[in-house]
Symmetry: D2
Subunit: 182 residues, 4 copies
Amino acid sequence: MHQDPRPAPEFQVSAWLHAPEPPTLAALRGRVVVALAFQMLCPGCVQYALPQLLRVRRAFHRDHVAVLALHTVFEHHAANSRATLEAFAHEYRLDIPIGIDAPDRAGGALPRTMAAYAMEGTPTLLLIDRAGRLRRQAFGHVEDLVLGADIALLTAERDAQVAVPPASSRDAAGPGATCRIA
Amino acid sequence: MHQDPRPAPEFQVSAWLHAPEPPTLAALRGRVVVALAFQMLCPGCVQYALPQLLRVRRAFHRDHVAVLALHTVFEHHAANSRATLEAFAHEYRLDIPIGIDAPDRAGGALPRTMAAYAMEGTPTLLLIDRAGRLRRQAFGHVEDLVLGADIALLTAERDAQVAVPPASSRDAAGPGATCRIA
Amino acid sequence: MHQDPRPAPEFQVSAWLHAPEPPTLAALRGRVVVALAFQMLCPGCVQYALPQLLRVRRAFHRDHVAVLALHTVFEHHAANSRATLEAFAHEYRLDIPIGIDAPDRAGGALPRTMAAYAMEGTPTLLLIDRAGRLRRQAFGHVEDLVLGADIALLTAERDAQVAVPPASSRDAAGPGATCRIA
Amino acid sequence: MHQDPRPAPEFQVSAWLHAPEPPTLAALRGRVVVALAFQMLCPGCVQYALPQLLRVRRAFHRDHVAVLALHTVFEHHAANSRATLEAFAHEYRLDIPIGIDAPDRAGGALPRTMAAYAMEGTPTLLLIDRAGRLRRQAFGHVEDLVLGADIALLTAERDAQVAVPPASSRDAAGPGATCRIA
């Protein structure tokens, strides 16, 4: 994980699905946040990363770990309407909050949250600690064992101090079926 | 994990493979121990549990987590000689310490370590904390996410106190391809 | 396979992707046709049936076996535009002809080819022999071994007679992640 | 498949498991024979080839396709006794005839059937036609789709003539977890 964590930039979304209250980072303070940036038309997201996110959802207590997704569209914008996202979420049973990353104000292809985190593409996984700091940002595939370990270590940090060094020896995401920003 | 952990019984093995020094629990004190009880002729061990054990081996630092296997034969004794085990370990590239569970002194089918832990069959996974206490014993399949979380939480216990409640919400091993003691 | 095959109804598509010439059944006469009816938002199609179709594409000679897909949308019509389909085909590397099933003339939800074949939902696999007769229609998952056998047997029918009884003992598609017409 | 098939050498086995009558090639004449040469301590055999053989067993009618295994031990002989094989077959539910390849008369490591077929190692799959001719010999992994097609084409050869050219475009076995003869 990041040795010198910085505050995670607040999500900039134009709308939330499956969220009565917007799950802002401010509102989630005190819990570990696992957020997946994905696109509907990204094979690596659909075949690996989203199923993994649902496994994370089942494996950890909601009181400790908040799980959400961000629809970060940087290509094929016309094919990624909110109506399509709602149909997609319904068919894939994504019963977690999904934020629609807000479009660039200057009309660029990259949405705002994606730009704020300087993401390389999708899927990108964000791990944010109880104090709201970005502790890991991984582009591509992350092993379940390593992800489970990293999330658990963040839950074990009670005092919002960075007290525990990472136990996992491999931090880099391996090569996966990713959609990279050109 | 176990809410009221007891000291893990010392391994009773007749010989160790791949271990210059016997990795007794006494010698491993201070590290988390992940031990898998298996049999060569147990399909669930060969197809799921041993590959998972090797993933654990790669995912965690050796300074924090010791990984080993116990060959706990309770059936087909004639087919499970030491020579066969050595050939098996070679072919499956099991480059971890493997202890041969010592036979019952009274001539019973159940070997001694298996009896001391009251195991139900194979595969059985043992998680032992830095203070040498048995914190989880799972018969059958355990999800990688949950296993990674449980191991990581044990590594985070610095003072050998049971300070951190389990983060994983599902502790029970699911039904797997297990070999159950009749 | 069907013991009493009937002529396969001609595809009724509003447009073809990746097809310089429309691959009508009339034009494909003399070759075995493997056609998959799918929807972009059908998880079983995306995760199992389309990858299998690409395996079929690689496994058989083009001179003997024509492989194509039909986008048979019966739900979420707004989310399934041609532009979205083109983006989807690009991202999933579907370099095979894809026909867009023509909408119902009376404004119903079921497109025309889907209705002509009385499909139950998606994914549905059609096997059509060299003489243009429908020999198998399977809703849901079909095993690779059985599918390979069925296609091969159709290629072996040289004289357009139904000369060869099916070798595979299991014809029924197993339960899969299907999208069923309500 | 082989363009110029030769008669398949008769199996030379010292004993058969699960076979009231020895399934010699002479006795199986008239049926397609799918035979897998394997070793218990060969990971590629245990994890891929034997499960595939059982799928073949289920997919084809017994009247048309005979499925059997050959235990062709060329290394770790001491670990591969008949008693161990019986335990292995029991645990892995291999309810098919298993022939124990007869040891070399001159005391060499290579058993007789393995030598007669000039096998490179395990797993090796043999496809023998209704007329007793060797039509395919594949060392390593074979895709289910291609295997299903090849078996089906052999079943379609009614007159014991080589009437049907292979439909599958890829004949070479891909790289798998094989045990190669040194």
